[in-house]
Each structure stands twice: as structure tokens, then as C-alpha cells.
Symmetry: C3
Subunit: 483 residues, 3 copies
């Protein structure tokens, strides 16, 4: 039951106990945000006075509990004023400068672009009203969140100001409204706060460019092999293959390579720990970044795999497929060839389709457990089992899918168009490296060493080291720099 209860008061702070809630709050402005702010303040138990240039026309927009009056009247009645107007209208408030002396102005504005102006909106407001205390806050909260109540992810309200007292006041108001205030420091943080809601999926930029880059590379490669080569060598027009067949041989390459790129950084990190013999050495920045983007890379891999499944399933729907089928049948009928069964071809397709569906099923499990609500209900062991163990199994099964699809074509001369190998051979490079590395890491000697390093052992340091054994007993040993 997640509907907002407008007009009703949360009882978490009783006005008779908490003076903050009997405070009068002023709101300047009459747009969407001002309206949502007024609604929320009223629901939280505050007295609200809205200052508008046209109180009579705008009164209908606001809840009845809020008093809508002229701007000058409104600011006289309160000490805290939310300035819910656009930056370009700040100067229109200069007439109120006298009345605003000594009051707290809360700048809730946002810009359209990152670093749109030389100074932040809050600093500009402060320069216009030097006798007031300006606090930057509430800009990361949307009007919808204000109206409908704070949800878990949107509960944080970032606040900064040069004045500690004012910050505390606004923080208390935010808490009563049901938000979690976070102190961001002085006014110099205002620019950073104003940039935060303008970020557009920052964690996805690199993975998306990576996917697009891989797509373009493999698409060109497949185009050359499947369309350009038949045209140049045999004068056959295979252009019709571009919308579905070329795309459908490109998407699985992107999905497969990206899936291996999810598990490669883990392998590199383990190599780094084995080489330096310690876990306390920081990874290079690029490896750190790569490790943090694994989830996005994995989800893009699943998206491409799902599209590949859709394209594959619609291959028999197409008119070109129908025409080719009928042509083959007619040719065989005319030649009266009755038996055309090639057992190897049949087995090849049965196996690689079946294995491909299993791989897609496992990848969908990984994608579903990435959803925030499900990931939060899993503990570390469960999450690690699904993402690491099941994920690696999915990588192995995808490799079987690729190998079975390719079958013996890598050894068939005809498959080398312009001396270019079949595409599937290129995609096998990174995944097979990852699988080989994981197999090597599972050898007892390497696994033991890695476990020791991860439990604190460091190469070259003389330290009395103990390892937990399978029975729970300890086996201790002195280690020196030669181990």
C-alpha cells in the first residue's frame, strides 16, 4: 500500500513535543515543485505560507491548508523560506531584500546542463542577498517524490551552507518531512550538489560504448564475410542478409565477448595478487574501474544474448527461408533424391541450440538476481554463488554453444573468406583465456597460495602464519621471504 496520504499527518513527530513541526515555513514560487513542497510540508505538520506574484490566480493550485498570499506578506511571517523559482527570476526577488534580512533562504533550484553557469545557483542567490543565510538543499529530490513520499532510494537530501545553525535547522525540517539529510559541507559544495541530478547513467557510459564498439567491429567483419565476399567472388547479391542474418551473427559475438569481460578482471586481479604476493597492493585505476562496471557489462551481455535469441527464433519466419526451403525441395524432387539426411548436421544443430537455451536460462537468472530488490534479499554467500559460480558455468556453456556452432568449420578451407577466419574463432580468444586461467587457479598449489594471500599472507615478510584446515584445526608455519 504505497499511496501517499495527502492531507494527513505523519505522527512520528508530535507538534506538542517537537517545536520544529509547529514552525511556519515559507515557499516562494508557484510551479510544480513549489506546489509539491507545500503539499509535503502541510502533510508533515508545518504551517505553510506561499508567496506568489498572483495569489488570487494561484491559490487554486495549492492545498487548502497552505496560505497563499503576496510575496512580501509571506516572507514576513516566516524565518525559513524555500526559494522555489528558476535562477533567472532570482533578481525579481530583490524588492524583498529588506524584509528578507536575517532569514534563511533555501535554494532548491536545478540547472539544465552540468556547470551551466560560472557560479552555482546558491552562490548567485547568496550574492544577491548578502544579508540572508543561504542553504542549498532539496534539489536532488523530484516533485513526484515530494508528493508521493520518500522511497528508500530517493530519501537522501543533500544540504550545504556556510552557516552551521542554518544547516541544522534545514536538516531538522528535512527529517520531519521524512527525508535523510546529508551534510555536504560549505557553500563551495553547492556546484557539486547542483550537478548530481544531471548525471545521466554515468556507470553505463563506458559499457555502452564498449558494446557499440564491439558491435561495429564484428558487424563489419561479418558484412565482409557474408555479403561483400560472395558479391566480389561469385557475383551473388546477398544484401538481403543484412537486416537479420548479419545482425544475428554479430549480436552473439558481442554478448559472448562481453560475458567473458565480466570475469576477466577477476582473473587479472588474482594474477596481480599472485605476482606481487600480497592483497594489500592497490589495483591500477583501470582495473578498479573495470571491476566496478562488471554488473553493467554483464547486463548488456544478457541484453544482447536475449536479442540474439529473438533474431534466431524468427529465422524460420522469413520469406527468404521459405523460398530457400522450397527451392531445395523442388530441386530434390526433380532429381528424385529421397534421402538427404546428414546425421552430423542434425546432431550439430540439436546440440548447439539446446546448449544455447541452457546458457540463456542461466544468464537470465544472473540478470534477475541483479535487480536491486532481489540482490538486497541475498546474503554474500548466495550472491557470490549465483554471480560467480553460476556465471562462470554460463560462460563455459556459452563456450560449448560457440564451439558446437562452429564445429569443424575452422578447419574447412572454404570458410576462410579473404583469408579471414570464421567469426566464431575470434570470439573464443578471451573466454578461453578466462576459463583456462580459472582452471589453473583451481589447481591445489595455486589455490592454496591464493587463499593464503587473501587471508593476509604477504610474500617477503617474515610472519608466523596459520591456515585454517578442513577439520577446523590450524596448521601453522613460519614463512620466510623464499616462499
Amino acid at each position: 500500500m504505497a499511496k501517499p496520504l495527502l492531507g494527513h499527518r505523519s505522527m512520528e513527530d508530535d507538534p506538542s513535543i517537537t517545536p520544529a513541526a509547529s514552525r511556519t515555513i515559507g515557499v516562494l514560487g508557484s510551479g510544480d515543485f513549489a506546489r509539491s513542497l507545500a503539499i509535503r510540508l502541510v502533510c508533515s505538520g508545518f504551517k505553510v505560507v506561499v508567496g506568489s506574484r498572483n495569489p488570487k490566480r494561484k491559490a487554486g493550485l495549492f492545498p487548502s491548508a497552505a496560505e497563499v498570499t503576496f510575496q512580501a506578506e509571506a516572507v514576513k511571517k516566516t524565518d525559513v523560506i524555500f526559494v522555489a523559482v528558476f535562477r533567472e527570476h532570482y533578481s525579481t526577488l530583490c524588492d524583498l531584500a529588506d524584509v528578507l534580512v536575517g532569514k534563511i533562504l533555501v535554494d532548491v533550484s536545478n540547472n539544465i546542463e552540468i556547470n551551466h553557469h560560472k557560479e552555482s545557483n546558491a552562490e548567485y542567490l547568496a550574492s544577491l542577498f548578502p544579508a540572508c543565510t543561504v542553504v542549498k538543499g532539496f534539489n536532488v529530490v523530484s516533485a513526484w517524490t515530494l508528493q508521493s513520499g520518500a522511497r528508500d532510494g530517493n530519501k537522501q537530501v543533500l544540504i550545504c551552507s556556510n552557516n552551521q545553525e542554518a544547516k541544522r535547522t534545514i536538516a531538522e525540517i528535512a527529517q520531519v518531512m521524512g527525508f535523510t539529510p546529508v551534510d555536504m559541507g560549505c557553500m563551495s559544495s553547492a556546484r557539486e550538489i547542483e550537478n548530481i541530478p544531471l548525471h545521466l547513467l554515468p556507470a553505463w557510459k563506458i559499457p555502452i560504448f564498449l558494446a557499440l564498439g564491439l558491435f561495429l567491429c564484428f558487424f563489419t567483419y561479418n558484412l565482409i564475410r557474408q555479403v561483400i565476399h560472395p558479391y566480389i567472388r561469385e557475383q551473388k547479391n546477398k544484401l538481403y542478409k543484412i537486416p537479420i542474418e548479419v545482425v544475428n551473427t554479430t549480436l552473439p559475438c558481442v554478448a559472448y565477448v562481453m560475458l567473458s569481460l565480466v570475469y576477466l578482471p577477476g582473473v587479472l586481479a588474482a594474477c596481480s595478487q599472485l605476482y606481487y604476493g600480497t592483497k594489500y597492493r592497490r589495483f591500477p585505476d583501470w582495473l578498479d574501474q573495470w571491476l566496478q562496471h562488471r554488473k553493467q557489462i554483464g547486463l548488456l551481455s544478457f541484453f544482447c544474448a536475449a536479442l540474439h535469441a529473438m533474431y534466431s527464433l524468427c529465422l524460420p519466419m522469413r520469406r527468404s527461408h521459405r523460398y530457400q526451403l522450397i527451392e531445395t525441395a523442388v530441386k530434390q524432387a526433380v532429381e528424385k533424391k529421397m534421402n538427404i539426411w546428414v546425421e552430423e548436421e542434425v546432431w550439430r544443430m540439436e546440440i548447439y541450440i539446446s546448449v544455447g537455451i541452457i546458457a540463456l536460462g542461466l544468464l537470465s537468472l544472473l540478470a534477475i538476481t541483479s535487480l536491486p530488490s532481489i540482490a538486497n534479499s541475498l546474503n554474500w554467500r548466495e550472491f557470490s554463488f549465483i554471480q560467480s559460480t553460476l556465471g562462470f558455468i554460463a560462460l563455459v556453456i556459452s563456450t560449448l554453444h560457440t564451439l558446437t556452432y562452429g564445429w569443424s568449420r575452422a578447419f574447412d578451407e572454404n570458410q576462410y573468406k579473404f583469408y579471414l577466419p570464421p567469426t566464431y574463432t575470434l570470439t573464443l580468444l578471451v573466454p578461453c583465456t578466462v576459463i583456462l586461467a580459472k582452471v589453473i587457479f583451481s589447481l591445489p598449489c595455486i589455490q592454496q597460495r591464493l587463499l593464503r594471500i587473501r587471508r593476509g599472507w604477504e610474500k617477503g615478510r617474515y610472519v608466523k602464519f596459520v591456515l585454517p584446515s578442513a577439520t577446523g584445526e590450524y596448521s601453522s608455519g613460519e614463512t620466510s621471504s623464499n616462499v
Copy 2:
């Protein structure tokens, strides 16, 4: 890690500091809700006394920490009593009227239907026990939520009563139990509170009826064109087409039209703002309602599109497809016609299938980001980019899919059965209107005007107006009623 920890106490309110938690709470009743209530009260640190008509038989159902005794005994020991019995048993409690004088009774009951009785259950209870204070509360919480701990969406507990003190007491108890109490006012709100858990997906009623209505209309239209017309004109029995082919030409129409109906209200709102020259004029109720139901309309559109994809993919599976294929092959073999390749047909299918899969992929992104846990992790700019921008791109690509599917059939006389145009032409009306309107809105003059209106400019009002320019500088201008 989201398991409830039964038998363990949350430490957020230490009993030695908060007297509320050492309170004794009574529960009358021995059903599921009474049991869950007792479990939760015990976990929250309260002493619990359960009053039952058969304490010996019912004791096994309750946690050991709760004392199970006769009803008269139980009510003597406490001041606050949760009446966890069905409304029809309230009268059986009248024997306890003397002992209950001056105590707080909490009515937690629910009904089976909305407005099932003349007066709400709480008012009925109050009429039976005029010497007690009745508080309505906890009825929106399910027994499962009580046992397993409050989750984010189910945390709210609605409370109403004529007595402020009693309301405060019950609110404190709710807080200690981990819920968020919300004050709903006086006892007259009890009926509204009792109706709340009986609502059945209220936001979905209109979109579902809309989808069903569109489905019936298009289904009838397609039935006439694909089954009835061949029967009347050519005496061909095409009834077998009804389960899959007619359904599969209806579902995409419903999906496509509903997708355009998601973006049409935005266009109408922009038109309204342009016409009246202000953003402060309230939209008509029907437009407001329509804007609020866009998410449900969009999700239904995606559901129909996904079913359409399933039906399309299984077209080659069917026995009718197989028979038609073999018939064509046999006819061609008998006539010894070798080459049947029609390049235009091949290209038509390749393109419209490929484009259709891309549209479905984009729509699935929109559907996934509608999930509450993901929507909450996006900021406004990200959410707007995905739902507005990507969504409009999905609408454009769906239009390409429809146009390529239709190809030149709108200009082919034979396609007009009973003078009815091909179905796809009908579906293009609303989407093309929306796309055209959006294109017009992106023209610089219209876009500037819309931006001005959304930044506060009003037609007919003389106001010194400034616009943010691309460089962050301001261009001001005096505006008068002629602009």
C-alpha cells in the same frame, strides 16, 4: 538478509528509556491475525496477554512469551486491547463491558466488500462499548507483514479516533513495532480506512478496459477481413485462422495504439499550454487522469507486444504452415518452377522483423525501468531520458515496423475487403499524429515558446522575462501581451 528474527528484540527502543515498551498489551481473539499480532508485540518487547474463549486449547498457537488466559482475565491486566475478532463476534464481548470501562480498544477488523455495512466496524464497536475509547488501526497491515517485519511499502499504519490521547498511545505502540503511524483524523474516517485494503488494483481498471475494448474492436475487424470475407466471397473455410492468426494481427494493433496513447496526453498538455500561453492553468480532469495512468497503459502495451512476439515466433511451428509450405513446394515441383525468389517480399520481411525486434527490445527496457526498485534508483533526468526519449524512439520504430509490414498493401485494391482498408492503416492514425506533433514541437520557434511557458512566462502578462541561453548568459526582454 531479510528473514524475521522471531523471539529477538529490536534494540531501537530500550525499555529502560521508553516506558511504552514495558507496557502490557492485550489481544482478544485467537485467529491468524491475533497470533501474528501477539508474535510481533512480543518481538517488540511488550508484555502480551491473549484473551481467548478456550485458553487451554488455543495456548499452543501463541508464542510462549505471551500469556494466554480467559478473556475477562486478560482485559483486567491491560489498558490497551487489540480486538482481533470478526465484526459478527463483537456482541459476544458485551459480557466484558464492565471490565472494559475506560480502556482503549483497537479495532483491527476488515470487511469482505467495500461499504458492506451501514456503519464502519469501528463505529459499531464504539456503539457497543460507549464507555471505552475506540481507535481504528492496523487493518491495512496483513498478518504476514506483522510476522515477517515491516517492509518499505507496507510500513504505514492508518490510525483514527475521536480521542487524541488514545491515538497518540496507539501511534507510539505502532512505532515501537516498527511501523509508521499516520493520523487519519476522527472516527468518521474509519469507513475510508476500512475500504483501503479492499481496493483491487484501482489504477489498472481503466487501462485494462481500454485494452479489452481495443482488442474486441480490432478482433472483430480482422475477423471480418480474414475469415468472414473469404467465406462469403470465395467460400473458403479459414476458421482455423482464428486461434493464432487473427489474434496475432489483433495484438500488435492493441499494443501499438496503446503505446501511442501513452505519449498523446503529453502532446495534448503541451498544446493546452501553448494555446493558453501559461503553465498555471489546471488541465481538465480527464487529461489529469490520463496523465496519471500512462505507466499502466504503457505496461499493458508492452504485455500485448510480448504476446504478439510469442504468437509470431510460433507461426512456423504450426501444422497449417507446414501443409501450406509442402503444397507450394509440390505445386512448384510439378510445374518444375525452379526460381521463385521475390526480392521485394524478402526485403519487406527481413526489415519489418528486424525493426520489430528492436522495438520490442526498447519497450522491454521501458518496462524494466518501471519496476519500483529500479525506478527509485534513477534520478529525474535518467528516468525522463528512458521513459520519454527512449519511449518516443520506440514509438517511431514501431511505426517503421507497421509501415514496413504494410508496405504497399494500402494501395492494392485487393486488400480492401468489403471496402474496409487494411487494419494496419487504422492503427497508424494516433501514432502518426503524436509523431507529427512532436516534430512540430521541436521546431525552434515552438520549442522556445514552450520553454518560456514552462519557465514561468505567461501570455498577456507584462513581465520582465529572462531566458537562460546556451552560454549561461541571460537574454532579457520586456514582454507584453502581444507576444
Copy 3:
């Protein structure tokens, strides 16, 4: 907006008001967990001193606000010390025993296996440092949650200790850090707490084994009928059918039977209530367990159904399908048989495919509403409507799918291989029982009785009983043991 705000302080507890936040906390250790702990403590406003064996080398890993020094120095400065080292290194801290006297040690360690050692890590630590107070806590929180901020599901921190004061202190610290402390009792609970993060999807074990068991049974049955029987009786090699066709006739059986097993316990529970004539009798343990695992059984059923759909859709893709199609066409062409249309076969496939897709669509709705974030936004009536009502409709439609797929094959002698009936007949047993039972329960006399029992009526007890009627009026009646 869910990013952590490192370096910024939550303002929920102002240091000038809450002494706890100006406390100095010590952290021993320099691994991932120690680092995440230090970051979170700094963000929460505490002064942090980190004790490491190599302060100079490790300082770079920690936030600048945390002071990194030698272990002996660090423990002198604080009263509360988080011991973030592995169990096997506890003995290395014995040198600090003198300095640690009277301080609170927080054991945050985890093990690799459940019950790995004879005593819990916390008890072991307490035995090494008898002069200190040991508190077990924070082990259920992952390093990632510490860094990124507490989410709803991961907010609980389990604490136990023999010392109440120490427990309260650590609980306050946990609250300031944004977690919800839960009191688990004395040190004897430490073992239980240490086992909690080691559980691996405990609710899924039984359903997964059930699914695997059903899969093996049906797979063997289908293998005998589809591969072994043709080989023995007709010497036909049908081994190629194993990867896709045999799997694709097994998966729907597993899905269908498991779907019926979701609704069977409800039927058994209702039977139990009708038989004993009361709702207050506890169900047997196995029925209770079964009722609690319904969600997992249902999700596995949906997963198998989705895989079945994928396998079915790729049947026309296969080379075997193509060869069979061409063979049939060639044979017909040679025999010049033009018309091969079998109306019954066509209708059979059209209906069962269409009905199957509808069933899958309904099951996907059930799966989606099982997601935590969506389930939490539904009230009880909505959840019950979707899971019970829509779910039962899905079961009925799946039964239609199975019956239409089977059609008249159960009456065809040739379908009985080795006298084994067609597989689909076996799968119909449990679902038809469930559907029949639900139909019987909906008969007015049985439905009334069940409703009476669920509203509190008990067979054999003389009680004045009232039932709510459709008009909201009450119909009372005396009931005696004969009813």
C-alpha cells in the same frame, strides 16, 4: 539516487547533541572489511583510529580522516575496538592483552563453513582476552553494504554479548552508522549468528530437488517412449531427439506438475479444516513446510515453462525439421499428391499453441508480482487475486493446453509403447485432482461451511454463531454438535 556519499556526514545525530558520535572507535586490521568499516565510521561522524602491523604501508588504503598507526597505539586511544582480522590471527593480538584490559572488543569475523570450529569465533576471542568484554556483531553485513550505505534488506545488524552495557554501546554505534541493531541474547547465540551468512538459499533446496527429481523421472519415461522403443521395435535411430525433443517433452511435464503442487497444499489444508471442522488445529509439519515453499515451487514451475517455450519455438530452426519437411514434400511431389490438409491436425495445433501462450502469459504475471518490490506495493486483496485467482486460471488453461496437445492420443493403441501410456496422461493426475477439489469447494454447501469454519465456527462446540449475509445483515443461529 543511491550513491554513497563518502566523506560526508549523515546529520541524523548531531555530535553536539549525541555524545556517541564524538566517540573514537578503533579498528584492528587492514583488509577489505576493516577498510569499509573505517570508511563508514568516518562518514557517520566518528573519529577512527586504525591499528595495523604496517601503518606506513597500509595508510594509503584508508580514508584520510582515519588515523593509521601501530596496533598498540591505536588501542590506547579508544574504548571500543572492532577486531577486523581473521580468526587465525587472533593469537597474534595477545601481545596487546595488557592494553586491551577493560575495553570492548567487537568480533566481526565470519567462517567459511557452517560450524567450522568447535566454538564460535567470538567465544574463542573471549577466551583469549578474558579481561575484555567481547561483543559479536556486524558479521552479517558485507563490506559492500558498509561502503555503499545500508539498504532495506541489509540493514539489520545482529548483536550478542554477555554484557548488557557493551551491547547497548555497540547498538548505539550501529544506529549512528545507519543500521538496525537486533539483540540476539548472550554469547551462546554467537554460533548461530556466525552461521547466518553461510546459509545458501535454504528455502530453495527442497523445491530444486523436487524439480530435478521430476525432471529425471519424466526424462527417463520419455526416453523410453521416444528413443528406446523405436530402436527396439523398429530399429530406427532416434538418438538425435535427445537434446531437444525429449527435453522439450519433459520440461512441460515438470512445469505443469509443479504448478499443480503449488495449489495442492491449499486444497489439503481446506480438506483438513473441513474434516476436523475447525481452523484452530495446527497443520502437520510437512503441510506447513509445503505451504511455505509455494512461492519457490511456483517460480521453478515458471522457469521450466519459459524454457519449454524457448525449446518449442526453436523446433522449426533445426536441421532435422528441415530434412523431414523436404522429405515429405519430395515424397508428395513424386506421388503427385496435391492435397494433404488434415483439418483436425491443423485445429489441434492452432488451439494448443494459442492456449499455451496464454498460460505462459498468465504465469509471467504471477512471476513478476512475486518480485519483492512489486509484492510490497500490493495489498492483501490484490496479492490474493493475482496469486490465487489468476494462478488457478493459469492452472486451468495449462490443463486445456495439455488436453488439446494430447487430443485423442490416449485412445490410440499405437501410442502405448511397452504398454506405457502417453506422458501427458500421467501429468494430468494431480492438476485434475486440484481442479476437481476446487470445483467441489465452490459448491454452495461446502463453500458456506468452509467460510463458517474460517470465521471461527467449530464443529462440536455449542456456540451462538452469526454469519455476515450479502446485505450486511446478520443471520444468527444456534449451532450444536450435530451441524
